[in-house]
């Protein structure tokens, strides 16, 4: 889950609040005639700032439109949007949502597909697909979330572990055994939580499941597919490695910072593109020691990709000014709007032009490695993933069964079959 990320962004947003609001150039051609009224935008820290930065530019084109950006915390935005849709009134013109919750609101949102072709090149793949469901576009992403592995090069070097030697997850598990042995147990290669569905999601994408828990029609549960069971077996192998620091905390990302800072663990197995900023903020003293690599493959030569959940801006059907809202959304999520958000958060942008610019820049925290280039490659290699109905519930269900598998209470096959049955019963899928 992105709770840590939200907390991080909230802190950053407060720190940089004064820097926002400067005038930037327009990136989208105006599509609406002069009108009057108010455009309302809802978001939480780390989501709305790109859009907010474009108010002045927007008002130069539309002086009679007042833009009202309202900020809430993450849960409140989601609850308020649902309340407004249910009540049939009070929804904003644009609203930030976590993309995993898109399908929960879809009946109250505007289908933006008509605009898609025009802006296809503006966004890094697969971010436009992430804001889509069953072929219809509902929202534009503010960031991109490919997943890789972050590791401490100094510790890996010290114990003779080379990135080139880690091609598969099995290699990583074996390297964990070696590190544990050579360090006398004082250093673990990585931390794992027993209910860590995030790792399963990386493995699912590598296995070709673009719906993670569901098939591409979003009607069928696939976690008892032999490939999904194989993914669970890989997790078990990683868990059983002596290099795994088991159940090191309650929140994967928050508590990872603690064990990484103290050098108890030498890598982060599942790192979305936002995590490096967390590292630089929380552990500045380890600058230069970190590197980014692709997630290992399940089989030699297999895909090495993973993709997590960005934020998207959607337009509720209640919006009375949909053309203006779209124009403002494009301004806020691309070009200077995207840059304003990046300047604040340093999170991988969904804007293709900005990412291209960043890809050539070396990252000092990562010893001069061009991390944005690698993130961009992973993102481009990612299949068109989507987040179907009942996604968050499926995550929790799988997490419960994974911990029984990892703790040896069930075999991977039994555990994944039981998870699939529970999902079918609760999510009305076959």
């Amino acid at each position: 889950m992105g709770i840590s990320r939200r907390q991080l962004l909230a802190g950053s947003a407060v720190a940089a609040a004064g820097a926002l609001g400067s005038t930037r150039g327009l990136t989208a051609a105006p599509r609406a005639a002069a009108q009057s009224g108010t455009l309302t935008v809802w978001g939480w820290a780390g989501t709305y700032e790109g859009i907010q930065s474009q108010i002045q530019a927007f008002n130069q084109k539309h002086p009679d439109i007042m833009v009202n950006v309202q900020t809430f915390d993450y849960e409140t935005v989601h609850t308020n949007l649902l309340n407004a849709i249910v009540a049939g009134t009070g929804a904003p013109d644009l609203c930030a949502i976590d993309v995993v919750r898109l399908t929960q609101y879809i009946d109250g949102l505007v289908d933006l597909s008509a605009h898609r072709a025009e802006y296809e090149d503006y966004f890094v793949p697969p971010t436009l697909d992430l804001g889509s469901y069953q072929g219809k576009l509902y929202g534009l992403a503010t960031d991109s979330e490919p997943v890789g592995v972050l590791y401490r090069k100094d510790i890996w070097d010290q114990y003779g572990i080379a990135e080139e030697d880690i091609e598969t997850w099995a290699d990583l598990a074996e390297a964990g055994n070696k590190l544990n042995q050579d360090s006398g147990g004082s250093v673990s290669l990585y931390g794992m939580l027993a209910n860590q569905y995030q790792l399963y999601e990386v493995l699912a994408v590598e296995q070709g499941f673009t719906g993670y828990y569901f098939d591409e029609t979003d009607t069928k549960v696939i976690v008892d597919d032999p490939k999904a069971i194989a993914a669970a077996e890989v997790m078990k192998q990683l868990w059983d490695s002596k290099g795994a620091l088991q159940n090191f905390g309650t929140d994967y990302y928050d508590d990872s910072i603690v064990v990484l800072k103290s050098s108890q663990a030498a890598s982060l197995l599942v790192s979305p593109a936002w995590f490096p900023f967390y590292l630089t903020e929380q552990i500045p003293e380890q600058s230069g020691k970190w590197r980014l690599m692709r997630a290992p493959a399940i089989e030699p030569g297999g895909p090495r990709v993973g993709y997590q959940v960005p934020t998207i801006f959607v337009m509720p059907s209640q919006s009375q000014q949909q053309d203006l809202a779209w124009e403002f959304e494009i301004m806020g999520t691309t070009g200077d709007g995207a840059r304003a958000l990046f300047d604040l958060t340093h999170i991988l942008p969904a804007d293709a032009g900005l990412l291209e610019e960043l890809e050539s820049q070396p990252d000092e925290y990562f010893g001069g490695q061009k991390t944005f280039e690698l993130w961009g490659e992973i993102a481009r290699d990612s299949p068109k993933v989507f987040f179907g109905t009942g996604f968050t519930e499926a995550q929790a269900i799988l997490g419960n069964h994974l911990q029984q598998i990892l703790n040896g209470e069930k075999s991977a096959e039994d555990g994944m079959h039981e998870a699939a049955e529970e999902m079918r019963a609760k999510l009305n899928k076959s």
Binding site: L82, V86, A194, T250, V258, S262, Q403
Partner: protein
């Protein structure tokens, strides 16, 4: 010298409207409570009963499913996990909380204890402490690397462990957090009860040669029974509706092994994260039924002992 004040002539017959107003006035004055209760209490309760019969996700009209939500709930293993955890926490926290609250209240009611007001404030402070602070305090206390708890347990031969991520320890940690936070609240209720016991009774007991423990067992405890019963029922209701503490300590999924998942968090997840309002409402009604049965049992047992 007394003044002769004119006595107003008594009206023999009031205007019919006036009589009507006189009769209605008390009802008008008490009506705000009932109107507010109707709008924000009774209607939502009735509405939730209706919702529990629908598969309703918020954005689309719900589909009537009859008792299906209740059937799914009664076959849901997660519900039983959450219920087991809640019962464990209830049994682990309510009895010791009541005993501690009573003991503290008796001590702080004693004239022999100095700085009573200071102690009363100190015991009550956790109740008014922000929940976020409570969560942080317990996360620090039980931190596997630098937490005080592991340091204290080390001499007893208990190896340092991450108690917030260890299913064996998670519920005891939650119980400890509840005791820390709510004992002061119960203590204040007990104190109010103690102050209503006539001092003559204690004086008479002392004259008859009763010891301190004897007066406690034979005067304080019997006379405090209604207050203890009230506390037990309120604490039971509170525990079955518990949400904030486990949410802060273990997150909405209940942490590793779902050892920290309680019925309140499960309800929140279903209703406000998954937007399964029908299922959430069904869960709320089942919980209400459980709380009703437990409260009636406590009342029955309490009054039987009183007889």
């Amino acid at each position: 010298m007394a003044l002769a004040l004119p006595i107003p002539a008594r009206r023999e017959t009031a205007h019919p409207l006036d009589r009507g107003w006189r009769r209605a006035a008390p009802y008008v004055f008490i009506s705000p409570f009932y109107l507010i209760f109707l709008a924000f209490g009774l209607l939502p309760i009735v509405f939730s009963l209706g919702v529990s019969l629908y598969d309703w996700r918020g954005t689309t009209p719900g589909a009537f499913v009859g008792a299906a939500n209740f059937q799914v709930l009664l076959h849901d293993p997660i519900f039983y996990t959450a219920l087991r955890n809640t019962v464990f926490v209830w049994l682990g926290s309510v009895p010791p909380m009541i005993v501690l609250a009573l003991v503290f209240a008796v001590l702080l009611n004693s004239q022999r204890v100095r700085f009573r007001s200071v102690f009363r404030t100190v015991y009550f402070l956790p109740v008014v402490t922000s929940l976020v602070i409570t969560g942080l305090i317990f996360k620090f206390l039980f931190n596997p690397n630098f937490g005080l708890m592991n340091r204290l347990l080390e001499p007893l031969g208990i190896a340092p462990t991450n108690m917030l991520a260890d299913p064996t320890w998670m519920k005891p940690v939650l119980i400890l957090a509840l005791l820390w936070r709510w004992t002061g609240n119960d203590m204040v209720i007990m104190l109010a009860g103690l102050q209503s016991i006539p001092g003559d009774l204690y004086e008479a007991a002392r004259v008859d040669g009763a010891s301190g423990p004897q007066t406690f067992w034979h005067i304080t405890v019997p006379l405090m029974r209604p207050v203890i019963l009230f506390d037990a029922i309120i604490s039971t209701i509170g525990t079955f509706n518990l949400f904030a503490e486990p949410f802060v300590l273990f997150g909405q999924d209940g942490g590793i092994g779902q050892a920290g998942l309680v019925t309140g968090t499960l309800l929140y997840k279903n209703a406000f994260v998954y937007f399964k309002f029908g299922y959430g409402a069904a869960l709320a009604w089942v919980l209400a039924l459980i709380i009703f049965v437990l409260s009636m049992t406590q009342l029955k047992l309490g009054s039987r002992e009183a007889d």
